[in-house]
């Protein structure tokens, strides 16, 4: 069974602070995705990282895929209240005929003004 461990589970910070969320597994994934989910809504894809060691930036968000494609991190610089939400990492497995997401348990981020 493939498992993704996310840490921390909860994060409560002040506006302007920086934070990092970690996603770790003992399994290798084809790629890894990060989602943000708000209450009452479905997850929204933020980024997909595919190559080991890959770094992608999305405004104040920086995503990194581990060299062995087993772990990833999300770093937010100068967090804002609008960043509040549930952040989920998801490992992608399968092939050309099948694609499955294995999600971590999520990190609930609260940014206080």
């Amino acid at each position: 069974t493939q498992l993704l461990e996310q840490s921390p589970q909860f994060l409560s910070i002040q506006e302007g602070e920086n934070l990092t969320v970690y996603c770790n597994s003992s399994s290798v994934f084809s790629s890894l995705q990060w989602y943000r989910q708000e209450p009452g809504e479905g997850p929204v894809l933020l980024v997909t990282v595919v190559t080991g060691g890959e770094v992608k930036k999305l405004k104040r968000l920086t995503f990194q895929f581990g060299d062995a494609r087993k772990d990833s991190s999300l770093h937010i610089t100068a967090a804002q209240p609008g960043d509040t939400g549930l952040y989920l990492c998801a490992g992608v497995t399968g092939g050309t005929s099948y694609g499955k997401l294995t999600f971590g348990q999520g990190t609930i981020l609260t940014v206080h003004p």
Binding site: G42, Y98, G99, F103, Q105
Partner: protein, 114 residues
């Protein structure tokens, strides 16, 4: 373009009943996946369908079944409901199947079992 739409948005059932949840994918998307998200956890994969065929199944009992129709919409059926089936059920669609296809999620159906 409309996103993934799911119905109903909320549903209350009692133990032992059965339920049917519906999903309409984004226009042009041929693959639909179903996920269960229990409160406080990440979504868990239930099924993936493509061209009306089951392409993948997660670790769920046979009480869970699904199908995909010629118009690529999908239904998830759960029989003999248990209290533990209370969750948000998410549907995701993609153009076709495979690991390189980004999945687009609907807002889910919140199922409560009394």
């Amino acid at each position: 373009d409309a996103g993934v739409t799911q119905s109903p948005t909320h549903l209350i059932k009692t133990r032992g009943q059965h339920v049917t949840l519906r999903c309409s994918p984004i226009s042009g998307h041929k693959s639909v996946s179903w996920y269960q998200q229990v409160l406080g956890q990440g979504p868990q994969f239930i099924f993936q369908y493509y061209e009306k065929e089951e392409r993948g199944r997660g670790n769920f009992p046979d009480r869970f079944s699904a199908r995909q129709f010629p118009n690529y919409s999908s239904e998830l059926n759960v029989n003999a409901l248990l209290l533990g089936d209370s969750a948000l059920y998410l549907c995701a669609s993609s153009l076709w199947t495979g690991t390189n296809q980004p999945q687009h999620f609907g807002d889910g159906t919140r199922l409560s079992i009394l």
